[in-house]
Symmetry: C2
Subunit: 144 residues, 2 copies
DNA sequence: ATAAAACCTCAAGCCCGGTCGAGGTCAATG
DNA sequence: CATTGACCTCGACCGGGCTTGAGGTTTTAT
């Protein structure tokens, strides 16, 4: 085994994921592997960065399908470039900020409602989440 | 049908959820229903507030199991009191704040890394999420 | 009285993100 | 050169959060 090549176990250990997860990621088209003479997976070091990116993106709230799309432009045989990474992280930042904003609004509403018990009032923001969630869901308002 | 009782369809329409979701919530022990002579579900208005609470808690990141536990103290036949609501929202606020903090840290790290492309460095905080996630996961560090 | 709409139960199915196990092969070590 | 641990594939399974469909009953509107 060439010193530069990593086995699936090496990668799992170094990334803190299970071997089965690597198999799963490969089956899902997130990573690829070369095979040695005995059909065992061999990875270059680039895969470590790729997996790091996957995990960051997951924390940022992306589904594996979205991550796959984002990684589509990154060759799997060499490390993602700084440019690649910059492109992806920039595009993820916006969604991340949206999630933060949504949760922050929810927290503030919760604070107000803790003070006033206003869940009973028809204009409580908690009873009318459409205001917060935007036009994503159409439909009637929750009136108690 | 008594004017005060709501059918499953009424509740679904007013809460913006599907009838199947209400069945599912009932089977999961989140809501209960009385039955009329013909075995159809009939709800009091209290269920509307209960469902509002479920949806708020979901947005705050709780699983249905956690929500069920939180709602266990709230009688299902009358509306949750201000006191009930205050207790729940207080206890959820902490977890919500934690999620906000985690996402905010991630965003800030992302910003720093966008600037420096440092995903390649072994000391990049994004590569070593243990610092952020705490001691929950033991295991090796991600080294590129 | 009848047709349509709404309801019932129960089982199965779906998507997500993995995880596990069986049965078999490969590689590093003494 | 045998053992032992790491690896392979494939299929099944898990938990979460619902949705769908079949087959049958009830309610409501005309």
């Amino acid at each position: 085994m060439r010193a530069d090549d990593l086995s699936v176990g090496d990668v799992a250990r170094r990334c803190g994921v299970r071997v089965s997860t690597l198999h799963f990621y490969e089956a899902s088209g997130l990573i690829r592997s070369a095979r040695n003479a005995g059909n065992q997976r061999r990875y270059g070091r680039a895969v470590l960065r790729r997996i790091a990116i996957i995990r960051v993106a997951q924390r940022a709230g992306l589904s594996l399908a979205e991550i796959r799309a984002a990684l589509a432009g990154v060759p799997d045989d060499r490390a993602a470039t700084v440019r690649d990474w910059r492109r992806m992280s920039k595009s993820w930042r916006a969604g991340l900020q949206e999630r933060i904003d949504d949760l922050t609004r929810l927290r503030d509403q919760l604070d107000r409602c803790i003070g006033c018990g206003c869940l009973s009032l028809s204009d409580c923001p908690l009873r009318n989440p459409q205001d917060v969630l935007g036009a994503a869901r159409s439909g009637p308002v929750l009136l108690g």
